[in-house]
Assembly symmetry: C3
Homo-oligomer: 346 residues x 3
């Protein structure tokens, strides 16, 4: 299936783009990202139009990126502005693609589609991580699978009961109340578990009385693949706002048809100064993603062997409701993008 | 070339299937094998029909295998009999393939074809390894080659003179008398070497007088790829039954078009209590298979580069008679299986 | 693009072919090279026509090469002259291809095209390395790229200013005078840098006064991919013959469409007895080729992702003049070779 091109995707965490350019392949296309001398993040097509070297292996000169092979320099618009050879005239065609880029919510967002349609307001809202009362940390995972398989994984948290002992408790899935909603480009999967035993993860931040809590796990997906997990606990019958909260962002950027960049971020509203606690929470989650989710999803991808999801006629369970809606919504958006005229004629 | 599906293949040695499920790909299809709580071996399609996880990574619950991703459980017929989600109703289509499986002669045999045709009596006879006077050991080798190239290797033992110094003597091939026969689904390649010097292997078990013996090397191939080597020595002019005997089984199961599971077993009729001798014999043979045959066959496969054997117009030598008959018999069986109507109409 | 088959390519340095046969794939075809008992180098198709084993893994018997699998022996004409099996009759079709082979200028040259056209006189002239006043050393590099990308690299030395600090000086490229010529099957790229600071490499052999020199870098390419770099320095205004000279040969043999054997040789006309100096020069150049050129060219090949060079509509700079002429000349030669009738009709 083709990708949704007119959409925002994360290319890097802001803090990871410092001195050297970064090369990242998104939607099958290699991109060079760098900060110019004003600290502004710039994204250019990675392949020099002269001899096809990778600009991301080059050096930054002021507001330009210099090709490492023969020294052509490109500015933030993608134009070659310096040719050190011969009479120094820049030849026609010496130009690379430039991508709209926005730095927001600790991340650098890229728009691989039509630049004229790149609306910063359509970046999904992760402003919770900009709040002064939320401390957060970030990480990255490479997954050998099509990104929709990760959407599926995140939109059906019932898998946690079988795959993630640190994040759940025995029989958790069977005690959930569930609701699925959708609007615009979003699907929302709500789970509530009332009067539950504490999970090992939340035990680390629980500061209330007793061992039982109300827990909510609300996953918000925005097409094509940016997810926000609003997960928290409170005293039984209490108000959600009061309890410990561990909101996490799951920002999936297709690398190729068979691999995905998985950027994730986890925040907390407790003990902001306690770095040791932060490390334990971060690493507990990291271990679940890297040693439990990733191998499972990669195996699923290998078992599918490149075949289309629906062509395999999957059995559908109750917990698949949100993932199925997201798949259908995304397929529709991609069809509309690929056939804009037909769409207009409808 | 397609595979012969209506046939018995080995999937595992009995002693290797204990607690955990095993995943094995046969004829291009991943299969999960496990023992249920009654010790019965069961083979199911490995891919869960829900989200395509590998059942072989799951847990055994009584007589069912539980999917590691979302907990569906499948019984020995392949039916999903437990859904831990929502109302617990098992959705239509929640079913995997179940394979006929027979445990016999130390091995677990699978039938990848039409279950209605799976006749236990057609498992090749390796009952020699069930005899109380024969001690045997088993091993496994993965070969990066189409299984017919291993058939070829085993049906023309003249290669031993050039590849296996431990198994033969100088000039052995030139002194053999040969005969090839065929019947039903079998090809038999008989070699006799009379009044021969002892080979290094047989010297280890020789308990007669002198240094010269009569030796027989009789390879019996049953389509598609199960072979029995009846190899033994006796005093010059003596009766075969009396002499040392090292019968070996070579059970080839196609993994893919380009790789093969090679299960092998070697027995002896001498010194049943002598484990050290057993180890020396086993490892001498293992070394020949792993360091001499396998690299040679894998290189042949690489040199063929996916091209059909006959399309390469091979030069044919005297020693190829049995292998050529086996190739033709197998090709005929596969054609008949793929065109059952045409066959019936003949 | 197809290869130019009627041409001489290097298969090995003479000093590397001693006792054991060598396997090398050239133009996509595996070849076995060995020296027979008279020390004569012979090249045969590597794949035995019987069971497709690699002859290069076999043993040399007199003037024949014996197959390691079943012992057939092949002479220098490629004919099977010994069959150790059955009645010993050599079956029809037991023959491998034999390649014209010439040992000259420290190298073994092979002709993969029509043997009738193999003219030893058309081997490019590297007799400089046969001179008694030139000391030379040889090496080999495997490059993951189409050989024409290495032609491009060598025919445009302006890249040295950006990639090779050991071989050039700051701003070197901008101070060059350039001229390109072509004749027959050759393209010549002349660079002169007058009154230049010494490069780090030439500083090692400079024995004149002062720190400034005249430098010439003359690259001579012969189709399809044998290059000679005549690079030397002299006193400002002096005669080229008098100064230090480090002539190097760059002999590219296509392995496949995506990989190349890069044989190189460097000589010097100074301090012939100084082995330490020879080692320093050799290793300085080796490092530039292996850690600077090879990764760059392999990355370019990966960025091109199998697409044709011209289809990518490269921007052309002044320094590309020689490489573009070589590409066009080579394309023409390949077209003519592939369409000999059409050529004759022109």
């Amino acid at each position: 299936m083709p990708f949704l091109r007119n959409a925002w995707y994360v290319t890097a965490w802001s803090e990871a783009l410092i001195k050297d350019p970064i090369r990242i392949t998104i939607l099958g296309e290699p991109v060079a990202i760098f900060r110019n001398d004003e600290g502004e993040a710039v994204a250019l097509g990675d392949v020099c139009p002269h001899r096809f070297a990778s600009l991301s292996q080059g050096k930054i000169h002021g507001d330009t990126l210099e090709c490492p092979y023969h020294g052509l320099r490109f500015d933030r618009s993608g134009a070659c502005v310096h040719n050190p050879h011969g009479d120094g005239v820049v030849p026609p065609g010496a130009r690379v693609r430039s991508f709209p880029l926005i730095e927001r919510h600790h991340a650098i967002w890229i728009w691989p589609g039509d630049p004229a349609l790149a609306e910063p307001a359509s970046i999904p809202d992760f402003s919770v991580y900009d709040r002064s009362d939320i401390v957060s940390s970030r990480d990255y995972l490479h997954v050998d699978a099509h990104y929709e398989l990760i959407n599926d994984n995140l939109l059906d948290l019932s898998h946690a009961a079988f795959l993630h002992p640190f994040l759940t408790t025995e029989g958790f899935a069977g005690r959930s109340r569930a609701k699925v909603e959708q609007d615009g480009r979003a699907v929302h999967s709500y789970l509530w578990n009332d009067d539950e035993p504490l999970t090992p993860l939340f035990r680390l931040v629980w500061d209330g009385d007793g061992d039982r809590v109300d827990m909510r796990s609300h996953m918000h997906w925005t097409a094509p693949s940016n997810l926000f997990l609003d997960v928290g606990i409170t005293e039984v019958g209490g108000e959600p706002e009061d309890g410990p909260w561990l909101p996490s962002a799951h920002l999936l950027t297709p690398e190729t048809e068979t691999s995905t960049h998985y950027f994730w971020m986890v925040g907390r509203n407790r003990q902001p100064e306690n770095d040791e606690l932060g490390g334990i929470l971060h690493n507990g989650i990291k271990q679940a993603f890297e040693t439990e989710d990733e191998p499972m999803i990669a195996r699923v991808a290998a078992n599918m062997a490149g075949r289309d999801f629906w062509s395999l006629r999957p059995a559908i369970l109750a917990g698949d409701a949100a993932a199925v809606r997201a798949r259908r919504m995304l397929a529709k958006l991609i069809r509309e993008e690929d056939q804009p005229v037909a769409q207009a004629a409808e």
